[in-house]
Amino acid sequence: MTILQVENLEARHGLLIAVRGISFSVTEGETLALVGANGAGKTTLMRSIAGAHRPHAGRITFDGKDVTAMPAHRRNGLGIALVPEGRRLFTGMTVEENLKVAGAHGRKGAWTLETVLQAFPQLKPKLKARAGDLSGGQQQATAIGRALMTNPRLLLLDEVSLGLSPLAVDQVYDSLHGLMNGGTTIILVEQDLSRALGVASRIACMLEGSIVLEGAAKELNREQITAAYFGLNRVAEKA
């Protein structure tokens, strides 16, 4: 069943067109990895879906409802949660407070403080620590946990491995595997192709605001994605 439908979406930053008429859909339970170089428009696309960026044109439908003009807090109420690039935790508050504040306003469901701590056991000893004092990996786990506390039906993860040590990335991805196996629908922005290929059921590669390659992860090979990632196909076409 299609849970998210994006049609001819265009998003801008002033005069700069960051997302150019993108269309795609996501079915319930799948993990879609968005890959692409810096500036390809991935983050703007994610923020547009979450309601944090107002699109210039196009339509976003979530679970059959047109959410294009809906504010972010109402989209979250429907089940869309974004883990933003850079974590953006409430740094003056404790880990427990970061999680509880999300739990108090999000949808009710299976995700509670206890289940989030089961998924991210590294947070248990840090519950009373200020979020700003945590390591990068612990902050990322808190940011994902905060989003999960709203019991999302669609989880948007923007650059979860950015700035983390390889060990911290492993820990975060171990926890993400649990979510994916549990049937949570995920759109993942990831710069690391190996990670993306390892977890995603589908890959979409963005270049200069457009999706230039899309397909099932097991049907695409690394060379195809790398060529799309760097725009080598276009160079070849022009030549």
């Binding site: 944090a52 807090h73 979250n76 504040v101």
Partner: protein, 298 residues
């Protein structure tokens, strides 16, 4: 001994300043708005209670039960008609907007009540002037003690709400990052409306005690704003308990100034405020940091 009494009276006066300033500090802490209508709104609350006491002959303390919800409603209206719109236009517009609100309030009250000074003192009977004499030269006014106690309870209650309750956590999260709270299902406009309503309740309490301990007139809001602002700056912007310390420092400074010279009350308060402002701006901390750096380098 008279000097000690002046310090004691100054500290008690600090309780009033803390009560007056905590709404200003709270609103800045949550919304980063410096509300220039703060003093005028306190005068407005005092006039609300003055009318209540005149028309009903009941104690202003009973009137607070009506005035505080009314002030909360004023806050919600203020948020959705003025602040919400002006917040979208950068940091300067909210300051100018609240200045406009102050001008409208001051002139509206002048038009309605006239220029005469008024007081709620007669409506609270003996409480206005009764005191406990600790020694021959040392005394504590009962109303001043009540105001100081109220300030401690209000600041303690507000700190508890912010630290321990879901709405408090939501307010702190919104103050930290209003864009991100939207992503976890919070409507920041509603949180801001709650914050302004709380700030207006605090202004209402301060206005009530202002009317009980002194006289007030429609154009007194500006002076009150200065005292509130000085208290907040001395105590640290956005810090609730700092507000109480700021109020005490300001009140004690003013009373010591008055002890030195009859005209020294205001000057001493302003002077202490300026010294602390300069120290904060040019960084007593950074000077200490340089000294430490030189020592460690050596």
């Amino acid at each position: 001994m008279n000097f000690v009494n002046q310090v004691l009276q100054g500290a008690l006066l600090g309780g009033f300043y803390a009560l007056l300033a905590c709404g200003l500090s709270f609103l800045y802490g949550v919304m980063r708005i410096i509300n220039l209508a703060h003093g005028s709104l306190a005068i407005f609350a005092a006039f609300l209670l003055f009318d209540f006491a005149n028309y009903t002959n009941l104690s202003p303390f009973i009137g607070l039960a009506l005035a505080l919800p009314a002030m909360a409603l004023v806050g919600v209206i203020l948020q959705f008609t003025v602040l919400d719109r002006s917040l979208k236009s950068g940091p300067l517009i909210p300051i100018l907007s609240t200045f406009g609100v102050a001008v409208i309030l001051d002139n509206g009250m002048f038009e309605y009540y006239g220029a005469n000074s008024n007081s709620l003192g007669p409506a609270i009977g003996d409480l206005a002037f009764n005191s406990w004499n600790l020694t021959d030269t040392l005394y504590v006014g009962q109303l001043d003690a009540l105001i100081f106690g109220t300030a401690v309870v209000v600041l303690g209650g507000l700190s508890f709400i912010l630290a321990r309750t879901p709405i408090g956590r939501t307010i702190r999260a919104t103050a930290d990052d209003p864009a991100i709270v939207e992503l976890i299902g919070v409507n920041p406009r509603v949180v801001y409306a709650v914050a302004v309503a709380i700030a207006m309740v605090l202004v209402g309490i301060a206005g009530a005690f202002l009317g009980m301990r002194a006289s007030f007139a429609p154009y007194d809001g500006g002076n009150l704003l200065i005292f509130a602002f000085e208290t907040v700056v001395i105590g640290g912007l956005g810090s609730l308990w700092g507000t109480l310390i700021g109020g005490i420092v300001l009140g004690v400074s003013q009373n010591i100034g008055a002890e030195i010279s009859p005209s020294g009350f205001l000057i001493a308060g302003h002077a202490v405020f300026l010294v602390i402002l300069i120290a904060r701006t040019f960084g007593a901390g950074s000077i200490l940091g340089k000294i430490r750096f030189k020592r460690s380098a050596a």
